[in-house]
Amino acid sequence: MPGKFCVNLTHSKDDTDRATVGFVLANAAQASGKETLVFLSIEGVRLANKGGAESIHEDGFPPLRELMDNFAKAGGMIYVCSPCFKKRKLDENNLVAGASIVGGAKLVEFLSDGSPCVSF
């Protein structure tokens, strides 16, 4: 049962619960054979820099760093909102595995054939 799945994640250290559960769901989609994209926008873009998830560890869940690493190792993709990233003056030469900085057209292209998308 092929197909795509998108998780739109808008939080990082400002809401560690949302950030964590977003990647847990992304891992479930990737593990289920979906071509899975996490779109990081707003405060979520802070997770795109190495170290951005370092201190995030919700009770009952693995550390966010581990969730993100496993997602990337399983072939998951991470798109990072370019203007959100630039606004926060983050380092484009220090991206985590699987992440690439994109404009809105890349997200629209991914979603354009009817991919579901959930937001956290």
């Binding site: 049962m1 847990v24 769901l25 479930a28 593990a31 969730l67 997602f71």
Partner: protein, 77 residues
């Protein structure tokens, strides 16, 4: 049909849940040959719904589901 006593691979996932469980489960299945059977023990309360759904999504055959024990046969390819 294989039963719990003669599965090819046994994995106790303890209380792993949701995406963490499924990603590790996928890894286990990828390490098996087509036709081999995994005996999974998953204690999470969501597993009785999640494991069958995952099998439907991925095409692996759920031979039996008697929570917390699941027998899954690896698909071809």
């Amino acid at each position: 049909m294989k039963d719990a006593g003669n599965a090819d691979v046994v994995w106790d996932a303890a209380d792993l849940a949701c995406g963490v469980l499924l990603l590790k489960l996928r890894g286990r299945m990828e390490g098996m040959r087509a036709g081999q059977v995994l005996r999974l023990v998953a204690q999470d309360a969501g597993a009785p719904e999640d494991v069958p759904a995952w099998c439907r999504l991925t095409g692996h055959a759920l031979l039996s589901a008697e929570p917390p024990v699941y027998l899954i046969r690896r698909k071809e390819g």
